[in-house]
Amino acid sequence: METTSNSSVFLLTVNGQIEGANFPDYDHLYCKYCYVYGHDWAPTTGLEEGITQITSKSSQSHKLIWNFPLETTFKSTNPSGWPQLVVSVYGPDVFGNDVVRGYGATHIPFTPGQHIRTIPMFVPEPTWRLQKFTGWLLGRRPEYTDPKVVAHGEGREGSSCLPFFNELNSCSFHSVG
């Protein structure tokens, strides 16, 4: 973390990549990412949002590999609201509709150095069985209004019926303070 003398901010540089995911049941997935950060944070360089290429499983491995680079620099005056990386994975369902396959979030590592984070992914489940069926049929699964909600705690307690299922998605970071 560097403190420039006149404006007194510290910088957080994130280098990394979204390496890949492990979704045993799905294939041909792509991934969107964005950052969620607090009031006192602002990105200075790099992309704040992005979307990866579609990747497919190889015949040998069941891992989806994106190796999508991330490179962003934030400036901030306050560690509160430390940036979080929000990742959402989409892919086609049986009918070719793009549906969400998982949401997940992780904080940018707090310490400099190389880190690998494995993010458990989840999707909201339909409230009713019937909805599950129609959602499947029409390709409209329940989605978050904004993927960023997964980075907030607010409102989770109200959503009583949000069963999730877990998948894994890993990102590696190399953050430089």
Binding site: T3, S8, V9, F10, H39, D40, A42, E48, S76, T77, N78, S80, P124, P126, T127, W128, L130, Q131, T134, G135, L138, R140, P142, E143, Y144, T145, D146, V149, E154, G155, R156, G158, S159, S160, C161, L162
Partner: protein, 1672 residues
Amino acid sequence: MAASSEIREKLRKKRRALQDTLAKNKNEDDIQALVPSARFNMDKQPTAMKEAVGSDEDPGETLRRTLRAQREKRKTKLLEQSFVQDEDVGEVSPTQYNSPNEGPSSRADDSVVFTRPPTGSQRGVSVKSEQPSRSLHLDTFVTRHLQEKLRAARSKGESLQQQETSEDSSEPVSRLQRLKDRDTITRFDREAHPVSSRRHDDPLTLRTRVKFQEQAGRVEKDFPSAEEAYNFFTFNYEPDQPSKPESKSRMRQKHRDGVEEDDRDGNRQEEAEEEEEAEEDEAEEDNQDQNEFQSEEAPLVRNEDDLFVIDHSPQDFVEVRKAEYVGLKMRVQRDRELLFTPSFLTVPTSVKLPENMKPRFLEDEGLYVGQRPAVSMTNENISENRILKMAEGSKWFGDDGKILALPDPIKESSTRPPLFHMDEELDPALQTVYRKTMKSQYANLYIAGATDPEGDYQLDVDVSGLIFSHHPLFSREHVLASRLAQLYDQYLSRQQNNLTGHLTEKLNGLRKALRNMMRIHGEQGSSEALQHRISEYSLEVRNTRQLRDLEQEKDRTLLRSIIKVWKEIKSLREFQKYTNTPFKLFLRRENVDRALDEWEYEGEILKEVLELEAESEEQHQKKLAEYNKQLEDWKLWRKKQKAKRRKKKKKKKGQTQDDTEEEDEEEQDQDETESEDPFEEDPVKPEVPERPGVDSLERWVREKASRIRRKPGEAILIPELSTSGGITGNDQCPRPEIARREDVSRRSLFIKILYNHKEVSRTDSCSLSTDFRVHFGQIFNLKVLNCPHSINLQVFEEIGSSYSLLVQVFVPVPDPSVVTGRAPIEEIEFSSNQHVMFDHEGVGSDVPLSFESDGSNKLTLLTSGKLSCCVSWGVGEEGVPLAPPLSQHPAGAHRGPGHLDAVSYIGASGLYDMKKIGEWAIQSRLDPNDPKNTSIMHLLKVATSGEVTAPDYFRLEHLQEEFNFVSDEEIERSKRFRLLRLRNQEAPEFRNYKFVPLLEREVSDKVFQDYEKRLKEGETIDTRQHLDPHRAVVAKYLQQIQESVINRFILSKHHYQLSDLVIEEEIPSIGILGINLFKLAESKRPLKPERKERKKVTAQNLSDGDIRLLVNVIRAHNIPIRKPQSNKPGQSSQSAIQGSDWYLSQVQVRPFVEVSFQRTVLQTTTADGPNPSWNEELQLPFNAPNGDYSTGSLQSVKDEVFINIFDEVLYETGPSDKSRATSIHTQIEKHWLGSVKIPFSTIYSQSKIDGAFKVNTPAVLLGYSREHGSTSVYDQWRSTQGGTFIRLFITVEPQLMPGESVRQKIKEAEFNSQEDERLLQASEKFEIHAAGGYPDRPCITTVIDLSGKTVFITRYIRPLNPPQEFLDGFPNNPQEATSLVAQYVSLIPSLPDQVSFSATCDLLSTCDQFLTLLAGDEQEHAVLLCNYFLFLGKKAWLIIGTAIPEGPTAYVLTHEQSGYFIWNPSSGQFYEKGDTFCPLQTVGCLVNSDNVWFNIQKNPSPLHTNFDITKAKMWKPFFSRSFSHPGLSSVQPEELVYRQTDKAAAAELQDRVEKILKEKIMEWRPRHPTRWNRYCNTTLKQFLPKLELSRGQNVAEGHRVELQNLLGDYRISGFPLHLPFSEVGPIIEAVHSTGVHNIHSSTVEFALAVYIHPYPNNVLSVWVYLASLVRT
């Protein structure tokens, strides 16, 4: 090495010389032999030792030396090996060689430890320890020798140091080592070898030798013989040091200093050494002399010294001897002499405390004493004994005679010395190695892992059966029978306990005792103690008697109720003619001896009466005593009064000299009553207490006895319940009963067993028997891996194939000691609140039920029963219980800490539960004095005192301190923290504050200025801004409401619902599903264009300049046209324009549109004609306040878009004749024709606005008229409507996310309601349904009032009286009154809720609130207008719909003979139903006081709407036959009370407004002089009241003419503005937007007149007449 060899050579010579002189050659040989052997031959160590010991002369001493040498050698050796071991040597050696000779050294150690802190340098210390012995030996003259010796030693030391330094310089000593050395030094005061230097090999040899020599010399001096050694030790304990040794020590110190000095300038050369050697020789000689004085052995040292230097082969010195045996006894004896072994017996307290002090126990005094660390008694005693031996040992003991101890002996900071090292230099042995945690096979099981790898435990769940005490299928008889059974059970248990008998016995015993005591009392006279005891006994008797009576009564009533229930059963059986239950009750009679019984009965009564008498007597006495006391007081008081009176009277009647001392009491009393002193209350004269009558007592006792006791002679009834009765067969039962029985037989039950919330097994389903008992009798063996948290039995009832959960029973997890076979079967009661009802005989559950014929005395029974089951730990094959060991039981394992830590004991969620915390506090026996527990204790105290303030927060106080990173004061002081806190609290100024500076100094004080100002202004009302005190108050009030509402919103904003987070498809109906399926099959039509929704942008990533406001000005209709300029046709301008517009006979108007928003002004091109078409898009930038583009902030943008229509007028100026021929100077003037105002909030919430807006044109537009030259039919028709319209399309680019409605949330979350729950649900359903069917039609059934409560909307509609003067004004013309009322309503300023409350929330104030606040949105206007119309006898409804440009709004509908009329409440205008230009676009629903009707017609526009609400196909009523109107009372007041507005105040206001406006206009024209035409001003002023009277209609023409006449020479353009008055700001804004001040002609003059017409209740109508005059 050359130097050293030289030295060696010299030393050798020296040695030879000395050897001759010395007596003890042998000894010397010994040493010669010893040292090398020690040095070079480790293996020969024991032999060397033997030799040493074997020497005749002084075995102890030699051994000592040997040891020393040995240790020396070991050390060097070990040091070479490792450092770690090096340290050990010091510790190990004394213990290893536990010979008596070792004693001295360890003794010396001890002495050091005891006498002085171990800070001193070791050498100094060792010297000290030697001192006593020396002081014994040496005479005073020794000091002289010592001085010499010192000199010698110094020189020797110098030479030594020289060598040392040379060595040191060759290889620096690491710092680490030094540290370690120091450590050993402080602990072991011994030979003190600078271990550090010993690392290096070859220089070491010499060095060590020298050192050793030195040491050995010392040793020899110290230990001349055993006796001396003994003396030395016995003297060692002397506390005060003689002065001589002091000097000696100083000398030694000096010596050392000298050595150090040399050390410092240690780079001496070898040449210098030569000299020093000589010196050394001398010194050695000196030393020798000295040694001779000291002891005979002293020369040995020298020899030794030389010895080491000689390079003999090791073999030369080796001498083999056998080890000397020292007898055990002797050794023990020596040990005893030398060693101090602290006793382990308890030290008496008196020893530990200072004399004459008693131990003081702080804990007993109530002070908090922490828990002492656990130390075994023996250890404590030993250390106490040891400490006592120490000097000042007593200071280690506290007042209570115990060793002072901290509660927590663990130091907070680490005592381990920090390791300064670079990463790579760290010894590999010290590197931390990380290993992965091993996962045990049974993860998170009983922690068994290591000890018991099997770890399988077995829980046996025995589900034996189920008995219902109530079941929905119970018949009435069953209900009674079960009650009977219960009562009988109760009876039996009571019989068993036999409390009554027990109490009776006790009572008799007490009475006997009391009697005895009384007898003694009577005989021996009363003693104080006896009396006391008697009174105690009688009290006890009384209590016992009362208890017994109670029990007797209970017995009696129980018996009675049993009989009663049985009778009921009998009658029921008779009545229904069949029996369902096998119960039978027999009453066994036990006859008693009547006489005896009676005698007992009477005796009992007599006794009781006597006792009661005594008691009442006692009480009487007490009362009497009290009475007497009171009487005394009273008398005293009276006397005082009397005395006072007398004094007063004397004063008063001093002149009359009337002696009134002998007044009688009555007079006195009278005087008292009228006493002048009103403060002193008269004590009432007490009354003599009455003595209670004995008769009444006896009567009372008898009554009670007859109630609670068996009558004398009556037989004792013993009920016996048997189940021997038969049940009537099915064939004899009526149909409903058969149905019931069949139902019973259909049902079966089974039980699921859930272990840790997971189903593990279930029982077979057993059918329900007729007696409602189910027997399962199944045992389930559960192999358990995970800790049992819960065992749950779920009882399911099965009917046919479906089953339902009846009840859940939680079974406690058994203790590990509870093992199958030994565990009793437990009956667990359960009940469920299921609601079940049957149409047959079954009584159902949760259904009121009555056994009375009249249906009274209803009782509601819930399904309940008992489940008998047993959970225990299984037993293995060899009888080993398969339970987890107690210590591993999770509860048992962590019992200690668990008790102390509330969180682990009751779980985090349990912290909410007061009861649990209380339980925990009791169980863990919290020390109430412990400061750590204060918060919990306080909490418990508060909780138990009754006033439970339910804590709505999570308590983590006991962890709080760990989270505090700075102190509270610092947080308070810091500006940065303050800023952060305020932002977190969402203070309006900081809610969206970004980038709180990183450093404290960067936070400027300015940041808080606004905030502090607001806080300060909270109290004071700024009247300057408002011109009108009333309005200032109102504004203040409004602001407060806003704040509170906003706070609620902020709260509810954080309250999310599922739908706020997750987008989910609604459950589609079959129809929609079908359509969708159909769509799938539909062929794609790529060419068919589909309207795509614009992408909505979330607010986060927006910044200034990203948002633009698009205003598409399409066209306008019916713009006023210029009038030919009066009677002066020859005007140049006119002709010029005429000339240019050749295609028209005359120019009518050249309008253009100017759009201003946020001070950005853009204008269209100029078009021609009264119906121009521009079709231009204007883009205005939008800046959010403070750069905050969040939804909430955007919603609160108060800016308005002004769309002004101007006429561009060209004038020729400067018509100087000269230039006229060649050039024309034209001047452009713009004349304001009208404007449209659209608030940004409307655009934002609707995302686009499209439509024709009515332009607000002034009532009179000087120089313009609406009559058009052309006479097309369309225009004709239009002109009759009398309005100018402009068609606009406004939107925001990019599209912003409209603020979601908070309304729904509020309903859910914070805002409570007084409405019936059913009504609210119904209204919600109604609205959802409406929104589902017709999403574009607003439907409102409930609104939120000012206090934030949800209120049904019909409660707002109620006829209310308008101001009386309106009614009186036109008694014969109701039409006139109507329009007057409408105008009055429209004059109340509008204030959209969205703006004020920054969210889409409707707050509806009642009409009186509205009239007080004088601000409200359309809804409030509409409600008021509707209520007025109702009062006027019209049929009126509220229309909830959408209009242009307001969006969702409320209008008023009236029905008259001529048809339906729609009123715009905020403008006061009305439209016929068929009017196409009615701004109302959709009609959502109609509201009146009775009902709400939702429009379900096809076309919602008012034009096509049929307003006949009776038609069910067109209007869907809220209250219908299925849900009738519950008779909602109105929230409106009965009657509105109006205040007359102060006319003088209005006039004053008028002047002020005029003044302000004039100033403003001048201000806006900074570069031009502004002249006011006074004449015109006055004329206009006269004009305005007329306008008010006529409400701006039909005066234009006459007015213009009049003006024209008055001001002939001027070209006038001007207009009156009509506004409701709220504040002065909007007026200024309106004036500014007309742009009158923009005329820059040099000859221009202005005229301005303001008129304010007051209406009741401070409703003010403001007219501003504005004109510009240009002299022509």
